[in-house]
């Protein structure tokens, strides 16, 4: 396997608050390869954004990276000086935020913001930078970029602004783009356009993408692989098709079942009782244990490791590889066909619903 563009190893992020230290990320590991789109899904507060910020080095006090490594093309970047980090941000890692309305400084022309960013990273003069900015705008599908470049953000519609944001992130041809819910604030029709755009650009440039969202549909459309996060941990990671159609983790299974789709006809949705714990009350053992229909003694005491299906026996920890890995004790329990159990569960829940 070629060296991944981004490799996150056992990343822990903590927030020091008055009420104690909150662990927002707890030993998160994953890789993203060249040209690959890794989807990160999970409920609100699962730690998706924190993961993105940690990778690009934007965790601000009281937050801190407590342990673990972030490797960009094999080079550690989590412990760089702020100045060195700055040269990576924007140049080698681009980032897109959720809200295009607030991501752009309202007082500066779109062009000024683009030129400034370009010139920060590339040795171009003002005129060249402007030229490049126009090209970029054209690339992200803004009509008449020569004219629009002198517009202010408030003169753009939401979808257009998100395109500008994308252009800003792509200024210096980064190797990795982190997109934190890039379409949540947009309408479905616009969302589709933006996703298509993102996909196209990354394919053309071979950029790796970390796509954070809680919309499974977007992931299914866009991602190659997907990581399901729960309470700051990766519950399951694997190729998108597998995770969507045959999720291993009971949480992932519940999640998939609870999504209404155009295709499912059942009257009822699968529902996971309760809600995700807050950071200051994460249960011991498996974080999902209070909500899991299959909880047993081990889940309450021991935290399950993220292990690939094939790696179980060996007990190797390298669960973040390209394969399909899950953090659930069921799959370690001898004599239990966990997969069958989880799948049956999903069907059963839906069935009870329709019967009622």
């Amino acid at each position: 396997m070629t060296e991944p563009v981004l490799s996150v190893r056992d990343l822990c992020v903590e927030f020091v608050t008055r009420r104690g230290v909150l662990r927002a990320l707890d030993r998160v590991s994953f890789d993203i390869g060249k040209g690959e789109v890794l989807g990160v899904v999970g409920e609100s507060g699962a730690g998706k954004s924190v993961t993105g910020s940690a990778v690009i080095g934007l965790i601000e006090p009281p937050g801190r990276i407590a342990s673990g490594e972030v490797l960009l093309k094999g080079e550690r970047i989590d412990n760089l000086s702020p100045e060195r980090l700055r040269h990576i941000r924007g140049k080698r890692i681009g980032m897109v935020f959720q809200d295009p309305l607030t991501s752009l400084n309202p007082l500066y022309r779109v062009g000024e913001q683009l030129v400034q960013t370009i010139r920060t990273h590339l040795p171009l003069n003002a005129a060249q930078a402007r030229e490049r900015a126009i090209e970029l705008l054209a690339e992200v599908g803004i009509p008449a970029p020569e004219r629009r470049i002198d517009g202010y953000p408030h003169e753009f519609s939401g979808g257009m602004r998100q395109r500008v944001v994308l252009a800003l992130a792509l200024c210096a041809e980064p190797e990795l783009v982190i997109a934190d819910e890039p379409t949540t604030a947009l309408d479905v029709s616009v969302q589709a356009q933006i996703i298509t755009l993102l996909k196209r650009i990354c394919r053309e440039r071979g950029t790796a993408v970390m796509l954070i969202t809680h919309d499974m549909g977007v992931i299914a459309e866009t991602a190659d692989r997907v990581a399901v996060m729960y309470a700051g941990r990766v519950a399951e990671i694997g190729p998108v098709r597998d995770v969507v159609s045959r999720p291993f983790h009971p949480y992932a299974a519940g999640l998939m079942g609870s999504i209404p789709t155009l295709e499912t006809a059942s009257e009822r949705l699968v529902q996971i009782p309760g809600s995700m714990p807050r950071l200051n009350a994460i249960p011991v053992g498996c974080a999902f244990n209070p909500r899991c229909p299959h909880t047993y003694a081990r889940c309450v005491v021991e935290r399950p490791e993220l292990l690939g299906r094939g790696e179980r026996a060996s007990g190797s920890h390298d669960g973040a590889g390209a394969g399909h890995a899950v953090a659930c004790h069921l799959y370690d329990e001898p004599g239990v066909d966990a997969e069958a159990l989880v799948q049956r569960d999903k069907v059963a829940a839906a069935a009870t619903g329709s019967a009622a």
Binding site: R86, F97, N105, L107, E155, V165
Partner: protein, 325 residues
């Protein structure tokens, strides 16, 4: 833009009209102005004559109209105390007050903004702590105490700076300025500091709060994520956004600078409008009081208009609003 200015002007005129009503009501409220004017042993006939001369026999509305017409031509009547046209008196005193308030405002901005920016950027640093403490003390010490203290130290004890007055002034036409002579500038230092200190701390705290707010916004986060340098982020993106609300507040503060100039002028015997007004209050010199009020609100209105226009210059969103596409 034109419409905007017109509207502001209209509103301003309204404000001035209201203040005019108040000023005029002042005349009426205090009862018979003749009582205020004449001294001992003025016979009744003479009083009647004065009453007639002043046009106090006419109905109120007529008097008000006349007052407004005169006021519009900067004719505010005669000071009861000095027996001079109020406009002359104020005209003579205005340069002093304007120079003082201008210097104080300048000081508060030039020192306050950088301090605010610093404390926002270096939260928790020692110097920030010092600045914050100083600022708190600045808002907690009444202006007059500061004035007393400063004068006690710098003019009486150390003898470095004059304790009162404007020093040597130079007349440029009708404007008398103290800015062109050494003694004039020396005389300006203490009053300007006294007056500016409170505003400075206010501005500093405001800038700090706004800056912190701005630093939390998404576009700053996004700018960081694009790898822009701290300088570009702090002084390009953040500062400019910070200044937008600061401009408004600073404009509003001008009103209070003028009000507080009163105390400063009183303590330092600064020959400005504030001291004039204070004397007027003590002597119930209503024409001076009324004219001062009108003038202050006029200045205020003008400053506000300028602030609003400035606002538009800084913020393209408002510019768009105003341009009435």
């Amino acid at each position: 833009m034109l419409a905007f200015i017109l509207r502001r002007l209209f509103q301003s005129a309204l404000v001035l009209l209201c203040v005019g009503v108040i000023a005029f009501a002042l005349f009426r409220l205090v009862g018979d102005p003749v009582n205020q004017i004449v001294s001992i042993d003025t016979p009744f006939e003479q009083r009647q004559q004065i009453r007639k001369d002043l046009g106090l026999d006419d109905p109120s509305i007529v008097q008000f109209g006349r007052y407004l017409v005169k006021a519009a031509r900067f004719d505010f009547g005669i000071s009861y105390q000095f027996r001079q046209p109020v406009s002359t008196l104020i005209g003579e005193r205005m340069p002093a007050t304007l120079e003082l308030t201008f210097m104080a405002a300048l000081l508060s901005l030039v020192v306050g903004i950088p301090m605010g920016v610093y404390t926002a950027l270096r939260r928790g640093s020692f110097l920030s702590g010092v600045f914050m403490s100083v600022s708190l003390i600045g808002v907690s010490l009444p202006t007059f105490l500061i004035a007393i203290l400063l004068r006690w130290i710098f003019s009486v004890h150390l003898g470095w700076l004059p304790s009162f007055g404007r020093g040597q002034v130079v007349n440029l036409g009708w404007w008398s300025t103290g800015l062109l002579t050494v003694s004039g500038i020396k005389a300006l230092i203490l009053p300007a500091i006294t007056l500016g200190l409170f505003q400075m701390t206010l501005i500093m705290r405001l800038v700090r709060a706004e800056m912190l707010e701005v630093l939390r916004t998404d576009y700053i986060k996004f700018a960081r994520a694009r790898g822009l340098s701290d300088r570009a982020i702090h002084f390009g993106h953040a500062l400019k956004n910070t200044l937008v609300p600061v401009i408004t507040i600073a404009g509003l503060q001008l009103g209070s600078i003028i009000a507080f100039a009163l105390i400063t002028e009183y303590v330092f015997q600064w020959p400005g409008m504030g001291a004039l007004f204070l004397g007027a209050v003590q002597n119930v010199d209503i024409p001076v009081m009324a004219a001062y009020l009108l003038l202050v609100s006029f200045i205020f209105v003008v400053v506000n208009l300028v602030v609003d226009i400035l606002y538009a210059v800084v913020d393209p969103r408002l510019r768009a609003n105003m341009q009435a596409a």
